[in-house]
């Protein structure tokens, strides 16, 4: 039972790293970017290619996954996302679904449609037992990395000047601009950071969620659930939402396997009905 809880936490942690970038960009620019998962996929494939083709160790490929996705984020933000900010949510949804389609088909064309597999270093394989609770090394590693990231993000968001400027911009972009905070530049940086984190999440998630060209479509709904349930104005909201989702999903399948994915969708609908602004959102201004 505790083992399952542990598994759920690891799953939720990866979901958080994957989705947190989306939540901040959504809160900051009110921009719905369904193509977020494409950056995650990019990170995943960078890892796979580096490990398979260049023989790089797993650990070394993780930063590369982050950098590649972040770079792609910067470039795409500059080139194609900018004109979309002023458009309606519906247009943004259409536009980013288009990008997802292109990413899915493009990846398939370049790298084939099969599931990608990586070989973890030996020290990350297997598991050990503490008081009868089985703990997988890799899941522990994931929890460690994502936990550190979550703490670092929370610290960066709460304690640095960048973070306070970002929060100011999310609170009230109009006044923030009037007081000299360069909202657009902040956004570009955040977008890059969020994309990079998605890339890292994609790399870490290969083992837990698999990786194939349909990844951005398969997990789009999960990301959206994390963001809408967690709200878009904090780091803790999406974090708790991701944990809730991860644990509920894994526990649900364990306890009532026949109900399958039903549980998380029902949970989402109920939560959104109770708290339309997100579970942990502050009151609107």
């Amino acid at each position: 039972m505790l083992t399952i809880l542990f598994d759920g936490i690891a799953y939720g942690m990866v979901l958080f790293v994957l989705a947190c970038g989306l939540s901040v960009t959504m809160g900051l620019m009110n921009f719905v970017n369904l193509a977020h998962g494409a950056f995650a996929m990019l990170g995943g494939y960078v890892t796979v290619l580096l490990m398979q083709r260049l023989g790089l160790p797993f650990l070394a490929s993780l930063p590369a996954a982050f950098l590649a996705a972040a770079l792609a984020g910067i470039v795409l933000e500059r080139l194609v996302y900018r004109p979309m900010y002023a458009k309606s949510h519906l247009d943004q949804v259409m536009f980013s679904i288009g990008l997802v389609f292109m990413a899915v088909a493009g990846t398939d064309w370049l790298l084939g449609s099969s599931q990608q597999i990586i070989q973890l270093p030996r020290w990350l394989q297997g598991r050990f037992y503490v008081l009868g609770v089985g703990i997988g090394y890799y899941r522990l590693f994931v929890i460690g990395i994502c936990g550190l990231l979550a703490v670092a993000l929370q610290w960066g968001f709460a304690k640095t000047r960048f973070g306070s400027r970002l929060r100011a911009a999310v609170d009230d972009a109009r006044v923030a601009r009037g007081l000299g905070i360069p909202v657009n530049r902040l956004f570009a940086l955040t977008f890059a950071l969020g994309s990079g984190l998605a890339g890292l999440g994609g790399a870490l998630g290969i083992e837990l969620m698999g990786l194939d060209p349909t990844f951005p479509l398969k997990f789009m709904i999960y990301f959206l659930i994390v963001v809408t349930v967690g709200g878009t104005s904090t780091i803790t909201g999406p974090f708790l939402a991701a944990m809730l989702l991860g644990v509920a999903d894994v526990m649900g399948k364990y306890l009532v396997p026949q109900a399958g994915a039903f549980i998380i969708y029902a949970l989402m609908v109920i939560l959104l009905l109770l708290r339309p602004e997100g579970l942990f959102a502050r009151a609107r201004t």
Binding site: R165, R177, G180
Partner: protein, 236 residues
């Protein structure tokens, strides 16, 4: 004294609605201007247009010899305009200190100096913006604008809705800023007489137009002129 701000032929509004018509004014370095008028005549719109968050339809705004008519709000802020918006708009998820540091630009104004000016704020350093009282929020909004080390301060109804004792404290602070620091400022105020005592000049807006412009002292001497534009008598 050199001219700091010059506005010519300015028309502006929000969306389709046009609020300001052909407004012109000029302000020299170190001088303060009271912006008077009844509710809804366009005072806030004028201030918001100077900082650049409305829809400008026509006219020119020159600040420190540069045309900023089409500049973004960020650029105007960096050029040296400090804005205290009408609703104060404290960043509610930032602490008092963060509200100050988030916008800070180099110059003589620092958090310490703001806290010296408003000791109440110093006591609430680590409170979040939305945990402050109205008066504290107003002090923070002013302090926040000062952290940009501006050459021109825009104050939109700094005393609105505040208790008399707080109003006095604020007015004292403004007096220091205007008189001792020599900071140029435009102040919107409903209570005309109070503010005229602090400012050098004043203009009165009516239905989006400047209908009166004179020295503050001159207006104070002739209350009838004021009352005609601000009081409850028919203007025409």
């Amino acid at each position: 004294m050199s001219e700091l701000l010059r506005i010519e032929g300015l028309s502006a509004g929000y969306g389709d609605a046009l609020v300001l018509f052909d407004v012109a004014l000029s302000l020299d370095e170190g001088r303060s201007l009271a912006l008077l008028g009844r509710n809804g005549v366009g005072k806030t719109t004028l201030v918001n247009t100077i900082i650049g968050v409305t829809r400008r339809r026509a006219g020119r705004i020159t600040f420190a010899d540069a045309d900023i008519s089409t500049a973004t709000p960020e650029q105007r802020a960096h050029a040296g305009i400090g804005w205290v918006p009408q609703e104060r708009n404290i960043f509610k998820s930032l602490t008092v200190v963060e509200n100050l540091t988030a916008v800070a630009r180099p110059g003589p104004w620092t958090t310490e100096r703001v806290f010296r000016m408003f000791p109440r704020l110093a006591e609430r350093k680590s409170n979040l913006g939305n945990q402050l009282s109205g008066g504290e929020q107003q002090m923070l909004a002013i302090g926040r604008a000062l952290m940009l080390n501006p050459r021109l301060l825009l104050l939109d109804e700094p005393t609105e809705g505040l208790a008399p004792i707080i109003v006095e404290e604020l007015l004292a602070a403004l007096k220091t800023l205007f008189r001792d620091e020599g900071l140029a400022a435009i102040v919107i105020e409903q209570h005309a007489r109070t503010i005229l005592e602090l400012t050098d000049t004043a203009i009165v807006l009516e239905r989006g137009r400047v209908v009166l412009a004179d020295d503050s002292a001159a207006l104070l001497r002739e209350p009838a002129r004021l009352e005609r534009h601000l009081g409850l008598s028919a203007a025409a």
